[in-house]
Symmetry: C7
Subunit: 96 residues, 7 copies
């Protein structure tokens, strides 16, 4: 879909709009200092290289619904469509 | 119960309300600078990846009663229910 | 005694009151910038996991009398009794 | 083309002008705090040396179209032509 | 002598008073920004645990005369007698 | 030429004057925040020792024309002649 | 000569006075922000212990003429004579 290969442990994410989210999905309380956001994984990097040279495999895959901490994303547009780039360690978890 | 898989060394926790806690359980003194809080582990990540590529196994499991340092939690709601996400290193210990 | 399992390299300590301490035991001078305190080890964690995945064994055991640097402790109460949680690296030594 | 060998994990990049980019390519929104920029890889270093002495292979190669975070580049001129030097970890990804 | 076992890479030291020191021994100039001090090693820890799990053996032993950088010591009293606790890396060297 | 052996990963460099540089060589734009400078490698250290004890071999050799980031150099004079000392990681690349 | 064993990667140095230095030796320009100084190695430590437990061998030996960055030295006096203690990584190089 997106012609983009994230590097290292970065994840390309399509943000899910808040309207969708509150409909029976996840809801972020207003009082939270740093509100987690939701998105869908579009593409993943090859994984972080550890200091011993081994590759840490990615824990998420395209199609996964993920939560991520706000302010950790970098917004880009590919062919006019908005995406986010986030390092995997800033992803909080996968919504089943 | 919660359809959520925490990533890396994160732990999904259901906070135990203070009322329950003070009844014969743990009690947090008012004078403490940083009051530990209590909760029940709901789901755990696969564990922190060490620099040599090995996985540090999680020390807690779903159902464990844990104490954690305040301000280390990230609050989320799943299907309208509140949960906390905490990195395992911020958990102080398990209450038997 | 205390139904609590400290996590990682944390140590559960029962503080020894100053009155006991000064009677032929350790005495902390008033001029010290950061006064060490004394306590008895009640429970220990399983040890710090090193970056190569090995476990650093704990150097103290339940029953040990230890000195620790002030402001490194987290105070908790278990069944109405006060305890301290301290990372082992903040323990200065064992009093024989 | 450029008679220059980047050292370690550095990448020599020829910036692609904004005019080209917006024509059916990538578009950077004005509201982004730190706008990613686009360029073409001209030359690459031999790769970062990890703490265990192994070499982390480079993930990009000459000819790749890459996105990079702004303010991570060092501008140089070789024979009157402008180039940028960027550490590979500051490259966000490859545009296909 | 002192019933105390330092933990990790800590060294228990009995400070040598300045009067003794200046008599044919070491002399600390007044102009030095951070004056080194002298003491005698009384007890040593088991050594620092390195990240690969191995133990770095202690370089000093009880009885050694050592120089240490000021402000790196923690003062304690054992049975009414003053001692200092210093991490081995803050010891500058051994006086023969 | 210079009777000097740099230690660890340091490189001894003879700066090339700006006049030479702009004549068909490299040109540094005035607008650059941190202008890279050019020099010739005169002598190299034995290489950085990695945490696993292995030696990272030097990537430059005497005679190489190199670019380096400004403010990373230490100026010394040997027999009245000026030289610069720079850690290899601060060298940007080799000009062919 | 000096009855002193430096610890870890420390080097005991006898400073060479500026008068000697400027006579056909090294000369430090007044405009340098941080002037390197010259000295002779008198004694060396056993070497830095790396994280994998191996010892990094010392690169200098007693008798070597060395340059070191200012403000990295600790001044001590042994039997009334002034010496400097410097970590080997702060030595810039050896003058032949």
């Amino acid at each position: 879909m997106a012609n983009f290969i994230p590097l290292n442990d970065r994840v390309l994410i399509k943000r899910v709009s808040s309207e969708e989210v509150t409909q029976g999905g996840i809801y972020i309380p207003d009082t939270a200092k740093e509100k987690p956001l939701e998105g869908e994984v579009v593409a993943i990097g090859s994984g972080k290289i550890m200091e011993n040279g081994s590759v840490k495999p990615m824990l998420v895959k395209p199609g996964d619904r993920v939560l991520f901490a706000k302010y950790t994303e970098t917004e880009i547009k590919l062919n006019g469509e908005s995406f986010l780039l986030i390092r995997e360690d800033d992803l909080l978890g996968i919504i089943l």
